[in-house]
Subunit: 371 residues, 2 copies
């Protein structure tokens, strides 16, 4: 975690009211934009990132040096194309890539917020994004697009700002977190909080609970992949030939892979931010404010929807997508539903999945032509 990176940021002109009842004083929102807003301000697409994602959707990541996290989808000649669209992606509130979060300096003492940072929700993240969209002079979004937690934000947009969204693309997502989803997140949080270096959230920057965070990431990472995908990629292959080493080093390739996932994650992510964002996900239940009736959450919007699931995704399985679509249709919305075949599990939305780009391209062009 390097705090020295200069992100593109906006400081909201107003305090942000939160679902908890607290006010977040004039938070900073970090973002990137690609392309140009057209004269009638009708070509803006907001992309919402997943748990460990960030605003670097289409440009190289300043910490890892790797390409943006969705360059398969975003870029010249891609379905979301800066030649045609004004693309916005912002780091979520509670995150750690420049938006106000637990690692940000507290406005009063300049020390990291730590656990003094208020618990935020998906709706709070969306409220901060609306502040950014306002500041960019955009009234209505052509589309809000996201996978996983990004899909939850996209759905939340249609509920929170029903008049400001012309279309929603919700991918590999759910309208609420299940008990199993919560359980996995709780394991990750407990792994972080069990690490003595966590210090009740008051660790010094750069000296946080790296071991606990790595374990949390490893547990979560398994849920992003399918059993079939893991078998195809690693099976029971050993690291070194065919001889078991009868020890506790990474003997199987899948162990080595997971350890690498854990260790590389801690270089780019803040442990407290992981706590806050998983908490926001667990609290997510779009129907909660509507007496449990999901269709009512979509009563006010006129947006068109495209809901996409992947057959090997067991984190947010197709059954959850079906539930969303059922509610949308019951609410009288136009809702396309596509289940794609992929061996990659939940991560399929980030990978090379046949059909995904065509579906998103076709949906967005249809929305644009109906303008």
């Amino acid at each position: 975690m390097s705090p020295s990176i200069a992100h593109q940021t906006l400081r909201l002109a107003h305090d942000l009211p939160l679902d908890s009842g607290q006010l977040l004083p004039r938070p900073t929102v970090a973002y990137e934009t690609l392309g140009t807003l057209d004269a009638d301000r009708s070509n803006a697409i907001l992309i919402c990132h997943a748990l460990t994602g960030d605003q670097y959707v289409g440009t190289d990541h300043p910490l890892t040096g790797k390409p943006g996290w969705w360059t398969r989808m975003v870029g010249p000649g891609r379905p979301i194309d800066p030649a045609r669209h004004f693309i916005i992606c912002s780091n979520v509130i509670g995150g750690c890539m420049g938006s106000e979060g637990p690692a940000s300096p507290h406005p009063e003492d300049g020390k990291p917020w730590g656990l003094r940072f208020p618990v935020v929700t998906i709706a709070d993240m969306v409220r901060a994004q609306a502040g950014l969209i306002d500041a960019l002079g955009i009234d209505t979004l052509l589309a809000v697009v996201g996978g996983s937690m990004g899909g939850m934000q996209a759905l939340q947009w249609a509920t929170s700002y029903p008049q400001r969204v012309r279309s929603v693309l919700a991918i590999a997502t759910a309208a609420r977190h299940s008990a199993q989803n919560i359980a996995f997140h709780e394991v990750g949080r407990q792994a972080i909080m069990a690490d003595p270096k966590w210090k009740a959230g008051a660790y010094a920057p750069g000296n946080g609970p790296a071991n606990g965070l790595a374990v949390a990431r490893m547990a979560a990472h398994i849920t992003y992949l399918s059993e079939e995908g893991l078998t195809a990629k690693f099976g029971r292959h050993l690291q070194q030939g065919t001889e078991k080493r009868f020890g506790f080093d990474a003997d199987f390739q899948v162990e080595s892979y997971l350890r690498h996932q854990g260790m590389s994650f801690v270089d780019r992510f803040d442990a407290n931010a992981y706590l806050y964002i998983t908490r926001a996900l667990d609290y997510f239940d779009l129907a909660e404010g509507y007496g449990g009736k999901l269709a009512d959450a979509f009563a006010a919007t006129r947006a068109r929807f495209c809901v996409i699931s992947f057959d090997s995704d067991w984190l947010y399985p197709t059954a959850e997508a079906r539930r969303i679509v059922q509610a949308l249709v019951a609410a009288g919305r136009h809702a396309s539903f596509v289940e794609l075949a992929s061996p990659f599990g939940h991560d399929a939305f980030l990978l090379d999945t046949p059909g995904l780009n065509d579906v998103i391209d076709g949906f967005l062009k249809a929305v644009e032509q109906n303008a």
Copy 2:
């Protein structure tokens, strides 16, 4: 972990050769027996326990005071009945309830073995059980019965001692650990090894890596339950009414439940034993010694088999049971295959699952009548 409990034990008269090539010097095996061996020594049933189980299958557990772990199946009037059967259950080698394991005193210096204990396999566990069976004067077992890791031992018995087993009941199990199985275990091991109190396995008894072990147990516990079962039992219910507390205490009931599972586990289990037993499971691949041809692992045995799976078990799903049965039939064995409906996931073999007792009762009686 109290080392002061007096278990019923046998010290093997010989050193135990291990798959790793090492010799375990005259290990101790802790066990319990129920019922009486009949005159022709033909009514002995060996029950093999799962990862965190032990020999207390039918009598109260000396640490927790709770009834034996399988009193639904074992006891008067139950399918495995001390009035009819001589029932043997032993703690696995590498375990922590009296059998030789990493918490046992090293024969040379009397201090805990710790990581000096050799890595053992499922076949090694079975080899130690055979030593116990020998000492009890039993040549042939009426049945070897087990769920989960116990089922792996039961299958291994038919391979390692093909002439000494008349029947095998393998429940909720697999003939090899999958990449996903290994991955989950690796998360647990990393959680333990990330705890500073682990001290490379050289912690003092009673002062081990409790936090790491609790996290390991929490992660594993999720895999023992089905998504549907978790939803039915906990859903998104909060601990206190309907008001979210916007914090990191256990707010959802499922969080509180998982934390309890983690914390109560550390009172009865040794962290190093958890490392060793998960490693044994990961190394399990019954076909490995037969050029990957599982049927060949069953070529020598004349045992009858009953393989049982549960439709909501995603740890060792029905597909794995099918693979076992296919190999058994290809090897010319009589193999009954039953998939039972249960909402309880992998744990169904320990719980009140309709049909389970009838199936086991019918299978065992048929084996006995064919004597």
